[in-house]
Amino acid sequence: MAYLSLQNVSKKFSDVVAVNDFNLEIEKGSLVSFLGPSGCGKTTTLRMIAGFELLDAGTIMLDGSEIGNVPPNQRDIGMVFQSYALFPNMSVRDNIGFGLKMRNISKHEIENRVDQVLEMVRLQDTAKRYPHQLSGGQQQRIALARALAVQPRVLLLDEPLSALDAEVRVVLRGEIRRIQSELAITTVYVTHDQEEALSISDMVVVMNKGNIEQVGSPEEIYRSPKTRFVATFIGTANQFHGAVVGKDSILCDEIKLVANGLNNYSISQKVLVLVRPENIQVQTEPPLPHGGNVIEGKVETITFHGAVTRLGVNIGSQRVMADITVDNAQPISLNQKIWLVFSHEACQVMTETL
């Protein structure tokens, strides 16, 4: 059995379903992200694990025992908040030592542990300062140190980086991952930032409207999204609506696409085909027939994104996004006629949900 397990967990706020029949097994020492738009129930689920919200139904098991009715201060679960929630009246040292003091640990031992975690978050020289004397990034490191000082059984992070600027965010998420791996502490990380979730997690749980859409490794979530929501929420995907016309072909309006894994679909069944912009090759000359997908179109928009340039290509029935890298030899201009080329594997097929 998994270390932390949520079974049939549900939560309603008056009439609004916040979390609906949530089932998840989390292995000891792993970092799991809850990813989804605001209001998807990710924070509510986290708060139920912490004990700040009561469950309407279901059970939460931690290390073999049920914790659903254990008060939050006895769960031994550390939490880091979006707003840092450092105690303004206490110095950094006292903030970090607070949890240890509550556990009646000797002064000497507290000193040692505080020094240890301060070193871990690389802020040894701030021990005597007060929270308002620190930058946002430093405050969040101290909040992390404070949560880790008591060596909790599980660490929960509730959008810990969303109040920080982009640069600090990237550095700090690396730090969080580093410390988490060093300590091998079971961690649940709530975020609405897909890049954050994909870059630091062992497992990503994509949530929408209180339900789990998909659970998987970051690669699985990105490469083989199981639902349309996941496909569109994670990264960008071109959508082609069509119907199965053969064992490997789909007709989307006038365009015939070839794709793998159509065995599970019947002829004339309506399907949705997703193709990511980075999986599309752009060619300025008509390609030789090679068995893959080729669509002819006209460039309508060119948007520079740094590492890639994104083209908006009119293919008649719709606009398709395709990425080209900077070192692409042929310069492409607006209204230029081009050919979009992509393989079977680039097509992700799923049932059309109405």
């Binding site: 912490a50 004990g51 700040f52 008060p71 939050p72 201060n73 006895q74 031994d76 679960i77 550390g78 939490m79 908040f81 707003s83 840092y84 929630a85 450092l86 105690f87 303004p88 009246n89 607070f98 949890g99 509550m102 556990r103 007060y130 929270p131 308002h132 946002g136 404070r146 949560a147 008591v150 929960l156 109040a163």
Partner: protein, 282 residues
């Protein structure tokens, strides 16, 4: 063109010279406010001041007489006991209530806000007489305990507002959850996290209650009267015996109130540092 608008913007920011009528208003207002106080101070050291514009001479004799009044010490002591215990009782009631309403029972907040205005709407004579009639059994009847109870009702709003404001300035919910996740129970959170962070509000509320109760006359006079004579009762009594001595009592009362106010201002200025600077969520 651009420069012109820029210049006029700077000009409009400059403070205009006050008009004559504004100066007259301010002088009249200060005169109205300060004249009675200054006169009281002067009267307490005036030898005789009923035939001339300025006193005929100055003396500290009335202070000597005031300190020699047999009730002086006991009334001052009674007033301190009354004010301090009222402030303490209010503190014990208000702080946990406000904390609870802010974190757990937010729906009750409008109700509490209304309740805290009610004492201002009840005439003190009505409050005193109804309390005396209802609590007419020993040992409460007309006792200092009943008086403290009445004072608690009367002065509670003076504590409520500053405490609510201080509580709103901190993120009490998240701080509580942070404390709980670190193993603290609600009582430990209240004592070690919440109270230290709203301390400026508690102190200024406490001082407001103290100075209000210290100067209160009606409730004291109607509920306990001579059984538990307070300083304002002594003062009123002396206005009928010797005006100059009564003036010295007023001066002493003023001084205590002013010391309390200075303390409020000082605590308030310290409080600005701890609440506004420290609590910068996001």
């Amino acid at each position: 063109m651009m420069k012109k608008t820029h210049d006029s913007a700077i000009k409009s920011e400059r403070r205009p010279r006050p008009a004559l009528w504004q100066i007259i208003c301010i002088v009249l207002f200060l005169f109205y406010m300060l004249l009675p106080i200054i006169s009281t101070y002067v009267f307490s050291i005036a030898k005789r001041w009923d035939r001339t514009i300025l006193p005929e001479g100055y003396t500290l004799d009335f202070y000597k007489r005031a300190f020699q009044v047999s009730y002086f010490g006991s009334t001052l002591r009674n007033s301190f006991i009354l004010s301090l215990s009222t402030a303490l009782v209010i503190l014990i009631i208000i702080v946990p209530t406000v904390y609870w309403v802010h974190t757990r029972l937010t729906r009750a907040k409008p109700l509490l806000d209304v309740l805290m205005i009610l004492p201002f709407g009840i005439p003190m004579v009505v409050l005193a007489l109804s309390l005396v009639q209802i609590y007419n059994f020993p040992p409460i009847a007309r006792s200092p305990f009943l008086l403290i109870g009445a004072m608690v009702v009367y002065a509670m709003p003076f504590m409520y507002r500053p405490v609510v404001n201080a509580m709103q300035a901190i993120d009490a919910n998240t701080l509580t959850e942070a404390g709980q996740s670190l193993g603290a129970n609600v009582f430990q959170v209240l004592m070690q996290i919440i109270i230290p962070n709203i301390l400026p509000g508690i102190l200024s509320g406490g001082l407001l209650v103290f100075s209000t109760v210290f100067a209160e006359y009606t409730l004291t006079s109607l509920i306990v009267g001579a059984r538990f004579k307070t300083f304002p009762l002594l003062l009123v009594e002396y206005t009928r015996i010797n005006g100059n001595v009564a003036a010295t009592f007023s001066v002493i009362s003023f001084t205590i109130a002013w010391l309390a106010s200075i303390l409020i201002l000082w605590v308030g200025s310290k409080g600005q540092h701890t609440t506004a600077d420290t609590i910068r969520v996001r």
